[in-house]
């Protein structure tokens, strides 16, 4: 079975983020790049499945990123993935969820897969829209928010996390899945994994290899960031003075009622 994990490279979660006002995009230079933390859970889920299923199960890391991200991808290889493929092309710049999903889908068709596992969200944009768009372009079902996965005879049985608990959902491969953080804490890479990662291949794909029929990059984007604004500063708090307890309670009551909170 071939599992492909999609991974996004994002600016270090702890770094202060800056938006370039001209391009309205996140500034990615001068900030350390890391694997999107949600995707580390997807990698963990894939590696755990590989351990459980054994045999010829392989885990391939797939990312759409500049070639300079190779070093970051290597961390996923050090965790235990078998190989990696990067879709790197200047023509992808400015792709929104829709255009990214289209380009990624074409690449994933070429790579081949039985199961695609994605993190539920990316730390930078937080749209969470890509996995579903990807499944649409690939023509495979999307099983979202899995917290526990079992696979046997190309049949998938998963617990799908909901606000109040979980649903048990079944389906057949090939499919795409997103996983939640309940799927299991991502493992540390091991020293042997780090030392062995350089012997694993990271193939680089360009758009010209994909035979695209639709535009990607800024031209293929269906959405446009019109304006970016900082969160408005919080105004001064209202200070009320009350003669006694009941009078204070009345002020609070009126305030809440005025806002239809009571």
């Amino acid at each position: 079975m071939k599992i492909v994990v999609t991974v996004k490279l994002v600016p270090d979660t702890n770094a202060v983020k800056r938006i370039d006002p001209a391009t309205k995009r996140l500034v990615r230079t001068g900030v350390e790049t890391v694997i999107n933390p949600f995707d580390e859970y997807a990698i963990e889920a894939a590696l755990a499945l590989k351990e459980k299923l054994g045999g010829d199960t392989t885990v391939t890391i797939f990312t759409m990123a500049a070639e300079s991200g190779k070093e970051v991808v290597r961390k996923a290889l050090a965790m235990g993935a078998d190989d990696a493929v990067m879709l790197s092309d200047a023509g992808l710049e400015g792709s929104d969820v829709w255009a990214s999903a289209y380009a990624m889908a074409q690449a994933l068709k070429k790579i081949g897969f039985d199961l695609i596992i994605c993190g539920a969200l990316a730390e930078d944009g937080n749209t969470g829209g890509l996995p579903n768009a990807l499944s649409e372009y690939l023509g495979v079902p999307a099983l979202t928010n899995a917290r526990h996965i079992e696979i046997s005879d190309a049949k998938v049985k998963a617990q799908r996390e909901t606000d109040s608990g979980y649903q048990v959902v079944t389906g057949a491969l090939p499919m795409l899945m997103t996983v939640t953080m309940a799927v299991g804490e991502p493992r540390y890479a091991s020293l042997k994994g780090i030392m062995g990662a350089k012997r694993k291949t990271t193939a680089v794909m360009a758009l010209s290899e994909l035979g695209l029929e639709k535009a990607v990059g800024t031209g293929g984007a269906k959405t446009e960031v019109v304006e970016i604004a900082a969160r408005p500063a919080r105004g001064k708090a209202r200070v009320e003075e009350a003669a006694d307890g009941p009078a204070g309670a009345k002020i609070i009551f009126d305030f809440l009622k005025e806002r239809k909170l009571l």
Partner: protein, 382 residues
């Protein structure tokens, strides 16, 4: 000239940092207070490959270089000196003698489980009356009917008495040289050897969660083949092991300093006095700047010694510089760290108070500051 770390070195550094900050830091205070040896952390470090970091894969190691090793020890020491010394002594002192001097059979029997981290091992050089004067070995071993009969005492031996300690390698006088000087040989003494016992753990000022004991040998018998390296080369071989060990103790000093600096920086930004954060006062800023610039200096020196070792060059002098300087820097850094914390720095629940206690041994273990100066002076031909 190139100061960049390789991709592997960076990956190892960030792995150990991530592990140490997530798993070791939250435990450090309690481990210190309870003097509790962290078996579970050792197991995790073994799984990550840290316990055999620099040894070849064929002997169960990870095959990484000395620079990576130094970076790993720094990150562990930054989180907790006890955990740092447990790993560093295991690699540099416990396992390295087998790697350098073991026969193929000895490497297979001892180095593999050591590099895999399933077993720990002691390095028995120091004696109650032979510390800086390491040649004054009083422990004696006599060969009788194919067996070494060992009598004597070893002091301050790290990792010698844990539940997973497999034994210790010691120096013992095995005869006299033709010119009359004692012949010193290294002997492998497994834990279950009849007549070999370990004391209770020492009560220590620092490194309290590490395992340190006294070893006694009363007619302890080991087979004749338990000689490690050539007969009569025991002292020389152990001193060579210590040259490499200096890199790890130096790295540990740098790590401790980094940890104390991290805590001080955080505290200085949080703590308010006279209406503002104390980091806004020049008196505090100057301390922090001096701490960091000395740490940077020491770190570069340690990495240079490690790099020289990786290049196969003579690194003994740089390693001694690094050990001496880093140890002295760590004293100044922890001192200022407590000073920046004021009264809170004197309180047990602030990590800098533990670091202050953990620091002193950096200037004593594996060659005191004074011995480092003697070694360097000797290399200068003085």
């Amino acid at each position: 000239m190139n100061f960049d770390l390789s991709d592997e070195q960076k990956a190892i550094q960030s792995l150990v940092r991530e592990f140490a900050q997530a798993e070791v830091v939250p435990r450090a205070e309690e481990m210190d207070r309870q003097e509790a040896f962290p078996y579970d952390l050792v197991k995790q470090m073994a799984e990550l490959g840290l316990m055999g970091l620099p040894f070849p894969e064929e002997y169960g190691g990870a095959g990484a270089d000395t620079v990576s090793y130094a970076l790993a020890v720094m990150e562990l020491g930054r989180a907790d000196a006890s955990t740092g010394i447990t790993m560093a002594a295991h690699v540099s002192l416990g396992a390295t003698p087998f790697y350098l001097y073991g026969t193929k059979a000895q490497k297979e029997k001892y180095l593999i489980p050591l590099a895999q981290g399933s077993m720990l091992w002691g390095f028995g050089l120091t004696e109650p009356g032979a510390g800086s004067d390491a040649a004054n070995v009083q422990t004696k071993a006599q060969l009788r009917e194919g067996k070494w009969i060992i009598n004597g005492t070893k002091a301050f031996i790290t990792n010698s008495g844990t539940d997973i300690s497999g034994g210790s390698t010691i120096t013992a006088v095995t005869g006299a040289r033709p010119e009359g000087k004692p012949e010193i040989t290294n002997l492998i003494v497994p834990q279950d050897t009849h007549g070999f016992s370990r004391s209770r753990k020492y009560k220590k000022m620092g490194w309290r969660a590490s395992d340190t004991r006294e070893l006694s040998f009363v007619d302890a018998e080991v087979p004749e083949e338990n000689v490690l390296g050539a007969r009569g080369k025991g002292l020389q071989n152990f001193l060579t092991v210590l040259d490499g060990g200096r890199i790890s103790v130096a790295a540990l000093s740098v790590g401790l300093s980094m940890g104390a600096y991290d805590e001080s920086l955080k505290y200085a930004k949080e703590r308010q006095a006279f209406g503002k954060s104390i980091s806004k006062f020049q008196a505090i800023q100057f301390k922090l700047v001096d701490m960091l610039s000395e740490i940077e200096h020491a770190k570069n020196m340690v990495l240079k010694a490690a790099w020289e070792k990786d290049q196969g060059r003579d690194f003994a002098m740089t390693a001694s510089f690094a050990k001496l300087y880093s140890a002295e820097v760590s004293r100044r850094v922890v001192n200022e760290a407590v000073q920046i914390h004021g009264g809170y720095g004197f309180m047990d629940e602030y990590p800098v108070s533990r670091m202050y206690r953990d620091q002193k041994i950096n200037e004593i273990g594996e060659g005191t500051n004074e011995v480092q100066r003697m070694i360097i002076a000797k290399m200068l031909g003085l």
